[in-house]
Amino acid sequence: MKTRFNRRGALARLGAVLAGVLALPVARTARAAVQNFFTSSNAPRGYDPTEHKWLICLDATKCIGCGLCAEACKKENDVPPGPYYRTWVERYIITKPKPGSAETHGETLVDSPEGGMHGFPECPVPEDQIEQSFFVPKLCNLCEHPPCVQVCPVGATFKAPDGAVLVDKNYCIGCAFCVQACPYGARFLSPVTHTAEKCTLCYHRITRGLKPACVEICPAEARIFGDLKNLQPDDPLRKFYESNRTQVLKPHLGTGPRVLYAGLDEEVR
């Protein structure tokens, strides 16, 4: 049996296949747009993310390491028990240099038992050997160029126009690429939903005019939260960044963190 081919027929078939291939991205983009539209962000109806630009700032000089923020966050957001934290507190203990050594300081010990949720155990270093000791609250750095968003293969995690970096848990495939890509260790794979989780700035609260749980509960006012697009003249946020020299974490990675810190030490990473 011989099959006959002619150029016209072959070209027509090739054309059809090409048209099909070209139509695919259009269909995909349309589907993505629809899915974005229905993304579950826990925001109330009528909330317009383009009218806000949320920012959280942290004053490391004020943090007392009580860990209430980490605990409140776990409760507010149903964060699974175990080593899963959307926010946590680190304790830094920098010892004095050994006598005779020409160093400015000795060792740096860092710990964060249970994310600092229940405070910290007694300092393992005798008081007279401590040069400096301080606490640093940590959370998602709300990067301008978030590597976690960049690597998500399905676009389940995205940067909202209001600055929050969110995850659509109904869409996330749980590949954990974003967990690997976050330089700050701010993401984890939930053992309950098997999807990526992270700080949402308590999106369900801030979109209803409330503060994030960690900010609300902080007794030392070490966490300052506000809306850059709707700043009041005496806004604590404005006061914070006008009166402090601020720093961000791991600036060399080019992620453009928006979480500003006051009173950071070079030892903090």
Partner: protein, 411 residues
């Protein structure tokens, strides 16, 4: 009993030295053995294909007896390449989203398309063009279901005139040429998945895709050597020594280039000694001591280099049997070494905290999603598929159109 239990528990619970971020203190790393074998399998595909294209594109006639075997090897492994990725997902049932709504800045999303392109447009097509005229012949002489299968695989194109066969050859050549960059792209992209993670100093490295491609070529050729020798042994046939020596030669050269680039990477890291160098040093000295120094460097590189290198110099003086054993040994060791390299990259990148202040320990699980049993099964699967493919398409009982150029005559 209780002491035993506690000691087992203590081993099962990961231990940390120094400080690791609280989210990193999980029972096992988020990527484990499955993600180790994922680049391993993909690399074997790319390497086996490059090996096959030496025959088609570069016209290395000596390798003709292993052409079909290498192509089928590449195909069998390619079919299994996405499995480890699929099984490690938190939601495997949503995997199709990678293809449906890909996020194009993600290396993982684009990998899906590179994979599909490679499978559909390169490997399957090239295999089809290569086997088509034989399939026509086989469908006529084979009774029963197998004959029906051959007939179906011809896709109705049963023209075996000289002109049509010439077209097949031409298409194969074109596809091989397209295939080489595609194979590079396929595995380069796997390297890029790791190389693009700037948060991780062990991974974030421009050399990563290049190292992955080179080690892929090495491992692919080694796999073809391994498969060829095992198949001839099973079929009690004589080994085509010219073919085997040529494979050994290419394996040696590929290994030299691979070893040089990997050494360059180590040198560069040591010289630049950037932030986090201290923690990387701890890893090389402690966490990856055996897999890196023994597995990757000694077993995977130095010993095979020595064996294959000496064969290049003294080929004529070494008796055939010894030569065969040396080449087989080198191939097997390289396969172990490249697996160790994948382990060192994937697990090494997760043995230290991104705070660069601490390291984690990890004890492999046996069963379960991330256990090594799953990985071992997935690793065996391509060999099972290959056995079926060889039985179907490299059967000794079937006549082939090009007896001098295809595996079935020699194997």
């Amino acid at each position: 009993m209780i002491t035993e239990l506690t000691s087992t528990l203590a081993e099962a619970i990961p231990t940390f030295q120094g400080y690791v971020y609280p989210n990193e203190a999980t029972l096992h790393p988020v990527w484990s053995t499955l993600i180790v074998i994922y680049p391993y399998i993909t690399g074997l595909v790319a390497g086996a294909f490059i090996m096959a294209s030496l025959v088609r594109v570069f016209n290395v006639k000596a390798l003709a007896p292993v052409y079909r075997l290498s192509m089928l090897t590449a195909f069998a492994f390619l079919l299994c390449a996405p499995l480890p990725l699929l099984f490690h997902l938190g939601h495997p049932e949503r995997n199709y989203e990678i293809m449906m709504t890909p996020h194009l800045t993600s290396p993982m999303a684009v990998f899906g398309f590179v994979y599909a392109w490679y499978l559909m447009a390169v490997l399957l097509l090239e295999l089809w063009f290569d086997f088509r005229q034989d399939l026509v012949k086989w469908s006529e002489v084979t009774p029963g279901l197998q004959g029906v299968l051959y007939r179906a695989l011809t896709l109705g194109v049963t023209d075996v005139s000289e002109q049509s066969v010439r077209l097949d050859m031409k298409m194969e050549w074109i596809l091989s040429i397209v295939g080489i960059p595609s194979a590079f792209l396929l595995h380069g992209y796997v390297g890029f998945i790791f190389g693009s993670i700037k948060a991780n100093p062990w991974w974030g490295n421009v050399l990563m895709p290049i190292m992955f491609i080179l080690s892929a070529i090495v491992s692919g050729i080694a796999l073809c050597v391994f498969n060829y020798l095992v198949l001839t042994w099973i079929r009690r046939k004589t080994v085509d020594m010219r073919c085997l020596d040529t494979m050994a030669m290419f394996l040696f050269y590929a290994l030299v280039v691979d070893a040089v680039v990997e050494a360059l990477d180590v040198l560069h890291r040591g010289f630049a000694a950037e932030e986090g160098f201290a923690v990387l040093q701890t890893m090389i000295r402690e966490k990856l001591f055996y897999t890196l120094n023994l597995g990757q460097v000694i077993i995977g590189t130095l010993v095979p280099l020595l064996l294959l290198g000496s064969l290049q110099l003294l080929r004529r003086r070494v008796p055939e049997l010894v030569r065969r054993r040396m080449i087989f040994g080198s191939g097997a060791m390289i396969l172990i070494g490249v697996l160790a390299m994948r382990w060192n990259v994937v697990m090494g990148g997760q043995f230290f905290s991104k705070s660069l202040r601490g390291v984690m320990s990890y004890k492999m699980e046996f069963a379960g999603q991330e256990g090594w049993l799953t990985s071992a099964i997935i690793m065996c699967l391509p060999f099972v598929i290959l056995t079926v493919l060889v039985k179907l398409f490299l059967s000794e009982r079937l006549p082939t159109s090009e007896p001098s150029a295809h595996g079935s005559s020699a194997v």
